[in-house]
Symmetry: C2
Amino acid sequence: MYKILTKDGRAKRARFETVHGVIETPVFMNVGTAAAIKGAVATSDLEQIGTQVELSNTYHLHVRPGDETVKKLGGLHKFMSWDKPILTDSGGFQVFSLAGLRKIKEEGVYFNSHVDGRKIFMGPEESMRIQSNLASTIAMAFDECAPAKAEREYIQNSVERTTRWLARCKTEMRRLNGLPDTINRCQLLFGINQGGTLEDVRVRHADIISEMDLDGYAVGGLAVGETHEEMYRILDVTVPHLPEDKPTYLMGVGTPANILEAVDRGVDFFDCVYPTRNGRHGHVYTDHGKMNLFNAKYELDDRPIEEGCGCPVCRRYSRAYIRHLLKAKEMLGMRFCVLHNLYFYNTMMKEIREAIEKHRFAEYKKEKLGRMSRPEMEKGE
Amino acid sequence: MYKILTKDGRAKRARFETVHGVIETPVFMNVGTAAAIKGAVATSDLEQIGTQVELSNTYHLHVRPGDETVKKLGGLHKFMSWDKPILTDSGGFQVFSLAGLRKIKEEGVYFNSHVDGRKIFMGPEESMRIQSNLASTIAMAFDECAPAKAEREYIQNSVERTTRWLARCKTEMRRLNGLPDTINRCQLLFGINQGGTLEDVRVRHADIISEMDLDGYAVGGLAVGETHEEMYRILDVTVPHLPEDKPTYLMGVGTPANILEAVDRGVDFFDCVYPTRNGRHGHVYTDHGKMNLFNAKYELDDRPIEEGCGCPVCRRYSRAYIRHLLKAKEMLGMRFCVLHNLYFYNTMMKEIREAIEKHRFAEYKKEKLGRMSRPEMEKGE
């Protein structure tokens, strides 16, 4: 179901077949935390901007509207009217970043809801049940994302527990996929590599989970405070220890430059809130760097955000109009910027796929990075 | 350019030809205050929901981004990418309702911007120049909308000044339409009838302005605090004194019931913020009354807002999903409700036109009002 079509250096160009359709990789998954892309972007919009995979957050949907509710409504695909692949994260990252007081035990994590403060317990089995109720295409294993600056001993213990949790996730997912009233009985499970910036821990963990025959493998716990160089170094040493013939997913990453560097290191799944979050603040991506549309110099600029861009916004609306909308606090301004940014990311992934197919990825990467850092524009993040 | 196709009682079914295309009346103009429909609705969306005329606010656009800026960008049509008719109000209503300390003089009104407090002067000539810069299809005359509870003497003086202002508007508009660098040299001017709830003042004013050969006539200063019955009474006595062979516009009105009653009294242009404002609060219109989508009873309701509705939202998304979006404060929830509500209003106007054509408007009105007030749903406003 996962097939490498070609490689260019370490960069993989693959095709991943799922019950909800084919994913051409490298792919950037568009983040819709609470079953909606922030910025008033509908699934009907996603169909116009080349989105292949939508990503929703297990923790958020468990808290509201509740995964049981989503199940009663036929699962996430029916709920949000999206028939292409959906990946749900495990809830782990949010438990560790959003929730209030929490207690980590062998069985799982006790914490308080960030919405109403009520006590919630989530362990590997709970995460799998929630994701099975949501009926996403791809479920992520429940892991601990250890603090960026944790001690070696903490990280080692955490990673070992995450490995035990992964085994429990796999067992529970197999059980759930066998139940007659499960909506998506072909739900896939990706494991997550952890280990902070400790190369030996990362490698040992990668070796262990690679033996567990999962549907895909993610590198988690990066882009949480370490430098870009540290992240690239961890990818350099870790990715070779993950199965090449499975999807390789770098969670929560990143800038266009991060993605280009990670593709070069064998990663082919990405997700990040940058294009949506930056869009909501009027920051838009172009081939010549990032622009802040609040800038006064765009007041009379009747050009599209990016000349030649085929997105629904650039085909019709000007920088001057979008700047006005942002200044006037019209939601439409945010929507336009988010749409353009997602189109930019999705289109860059398409360019990356084409470059790998033509075995000119190194050349493409150099050109793209060169263009995006031209001094006349604000630099990319 | 304005042609009555048929009448049914006092209800007019007309066609109004403008440089930006034909307006079939009765028509409901969709309000986009600051050159955008609030709720992240783009002009590309308006094309999907049967919008004929977009209405923008002169005062808001004068303050931000500035009418000179809009002119430099080619006028409002180019600015917001909308090639159908646009009506701009005169700014008068906002000056009297939004602005801070103001002083009314014969020459115009001195007031402070509600955005940055700076002093602004607006009189008939200024309003015409601003609207000429915006280059809307239809400009509204600069008038005073007297307070709902003003004394007879105040209202009489105010109406007389509004008449003098109207003459100045007409002179200035003719001059502006003759200038070579005016964007829309065919800009139309509608006069506005005032007089509060004083029938004799309304009628005398209507008679006077009817002699001034304007492109259309509005009834202003209603729906500002008087009862619906008072409003209908004023229409009953005033509309017969306005030219039947010109558009008849009831400003800022109203609920579906208000519109049906006003059409029955010869009105054929409407605008109102209800569908957009209510939509942003999760209140949606249906043929069976208004629904509050925040209501818990919609949590598991997988039906569209209105079964059989052809709007882009009802064709695809459920009450349960929209309720979730609203509860999760996702902008998309607001956008969906606004889109549905505007479609509801635009579609009701289409039904009204068809009913008049078939000379069964009275029957249609009775049916529609009966359906919308069914007790099982929340009642219309």
